[in-house]
């Protein structure tokens, strides 16, 4: 179980892995996530399922090496197994009667919207996709997504590819040029989702965002992933991970996400030290 059968680097420190788990592959739907643990003393972290293949019995995960767990995950190669993998968790994306949709993927978020765009396309939904990243080297899955959308737009902070600037500039332009969207779907860094939501609110475009807060069990038990949505406390693991972007209290989520930043750094630094000494599994 959980054997990595394919590993493809997509960008510096961003990897795609295809993992065998027929049970999860059979049930996974766009928008859902898994929780994994890399080693015996490891922590549990959530990752969105970016694709699945029911026939092959595999799921695809795309992750960026940020903390200790994702860095260790990045060290696993084809043939290695992930220690624990649990899912599919969370509610699937609601893909019914979407009309015309604009999907915004920021950085790694592009990987997470991939299965949604594919599914929307299958349902006959007209989709425009905006992909954003800091620079060209961080643009991922461009070729993979293209066949499933009507238009694909790219924005980079430094202008190394596509529009120079933010995804919101592009989105604003598209709307003001007369594109009528019935829904926006934004997945990416919290700040990007916040800015997109603020923009679409002005134009009255209903917006779905996907939250990925600190989480332990993923079944509603710990309450660690709670966030305020329209003044109500909701749990991202069971009520989400997708919420109405116009109702999410992003400032609060941004603060909560930083809760363990200090410890995360300690763990990663120690791990890097161990790696230098050749103790990879520490």
């Amino acid at each position: 179980m959980n054997k990595i059968i394919r590993k493809t680097p997509l960008a510096p420190s961003v990897n795609l892995i295809e993992v065998e788990n027929p049970l999860i592959a059979r049930k996974a739907q766009p928008g859902q996530f898994i929780i994994l643990r890399v080693h015996e003393n490891g922590e549990r972290i959530p990752l969105t399922i970016s694709d699945y293949n029911r026939e092959k019995g595999t799921i695809t995960l795309i992750f960026q090496e940020i903390g200790k767990t994702t860095t260790m995950l990045g060290r696993l190669g084809e043939g290695d197994c992930i220690r624990d993998l649990v899912g599919p968790l969370g509610k699937p994306t609601d893909l019914e009667n979407l009309g015309r949709v604009v999907v915004i993927g920021g950085g790694l978020g592009t990987a997470l919207v991939f299965s949604q765009v594919k599914e929307m396309h299958k349902n006959g939904t007209r989709v425009d996709v905006i992909v954003g990243a800091r620079n060209e080297s961080l643009i991922i899955l461009e070729e993979e997504i293209k066949p499933y959308c009507e238009n694909l737009y790219i924005a980079t902070d430094d202008g190394s590819k596509g529009h120079k600037g933010f995804v919101t500039d592009l989105l604003k332009k598209l709307i003001e040029d007369g594109n009528k969207y019935d829904r926006a779907v934004a997945v990416g860094p919290l700040i990007m989702m916040k800015v997109v939501s603020n923009l679409t609110r002005q134009y009255g475009v209903p917006t779905t965002v996907s939250m990925n807060p600190i989480m332990i069990d993923g079944t509603g038990m710990c309450g660690g992933c709670r966030l305020s949505v329209g003044g109500e406390t909701r749990f991202a693991c069971v009520d989400g991970p997708e919420f109405d972007g116009h109702l999410v209290d992003f400032d609060q989520v941004i603060k909560r996400t930083g809760m363990y930043r200090e410890q995360e750094k300690i763990a990663l630094d120690l791990y890097r030290e161990c790696c230098k000494r050749g103790e990879h599994n520490a």
Partner: protein
Amino acid sequence: MPEQKRKANLAKKKVPMPEQEPRVRARNFEEVAMGYTREQALEEARRCLRCKEPHCVEGCPVNVQIPDFIKFIEEEKFLEAYKKIKETNSLPAVCGRVCPQENQCEKLCLRGKKSEPVAIGRLERFVADYAASLPPAEVGEECLSGSLNKGKVAVIGSGPSGVTCAGDLTKMGYRVTMFEAFHTPGGVLMYGIPEFRLPKDVVQREIDNVKKLGVDVQTNMVIGKILSIDELFEQGYNAVYIGTGAGLPIFLRLPGENLNGVMSANEFLTRVNLMKAYKFPEYDTPVKIGRRVAVVGGGNVAMDAARSALRLGAEKVYIVYRRSEQEMPARREEVHHAREEGIEFKLLTNPVTIIGDDNGWVKGMECVEMELGEPDASGRRRPVVKQGSEHVIDVETVIMALGTTPNPLIAKTTGGLELTRFGGIVADETTGRTKRPGVFAGGDIVTGSATVILAMGAGKKAAVAINEHIRGKHE
């Protein structure tokens, strides 16, 4: 030994249990109570009166034959004593440590009328630990996997209820698969109860025992997500037992409850117990505890959280409880232990607002004082706010230990079940039968949060009913 020559020990008090010094133990995660020595166990066993009609057994939800096992102890037949307990209780080392004996077996002990009751829990623990110290072959736990041909049963949840049900069904000849959502089986015994009260290797041992019996344990399986109950039946299971517990934390919906530094006891204890955050960075999961900590609630979980916070280095830990000590649902021993360790009790106190600093972290909790009025529906006197009693406690961490509600995950994805107002599953108390044929449920998912031993009792009754259900169907 001939009955007439036996001289009972008439000491009024239980043989005291050796414990770590409060000041020392408040800074480590080692077990607080160290267990009886052989001599102490023999001495305490002699306090049993061997009543002709022993009431203690009536007080035990799983019917442990208490006088019989105590008699074996007195005769120094410790292994026999162990086997006697195991006839009805699959988790003696756990029950000996965390059962609320004061409200069960020991409450009905005749010795308790005029002095302290026999320390049944401590004796049970002694016997279980004795058996664990022997080579497994000597204890002779049987492996039944060769002869499990009466049918297939799926047990969902590997906490006390599930383990008991799975163990009993295996002994009856069923092939049992136990599904666990976490990466480690044991449920609340693993994530909820701290190491210093219930060492995790003790739980592991009990899980290993059911595995040895032949129970197949599958971790990382969230039933209701990865497989539905319908699919389990399609896979050939003849019956399903739902023992998923009451895992959802209750929050008070106070202003400031989502500030950094506010946690449910579930989150805090899971980080500490299951993920071993107290060993960070040796273990990867962190936990952050302020200099001053408030734990809101008055049950065992509140005591566990408060004492864990102290062990993680907090200087000041408060229990904030809205009623008085008499109404506290925690075991008396835990309250006593907490006090000894220096936990401060703010009784008749209720939080109203959690106050944050500019960075979104907790810096205080505003509370009001309470007075007890007339009894409410729960029979406890209802706390009423004292006017003008608002005051602020300076704390950096707030842990909410207000109880839990059943996890609706399975109920939501399973047709044909009837649900309670609280999201639990409606099941017959004596059989665990739900509205849906072949589906049984028991433990906290049915009753709401209760005790380990009640959950075990429910698992036991359900095992009997499942056997009858399958036999009735196939023979």
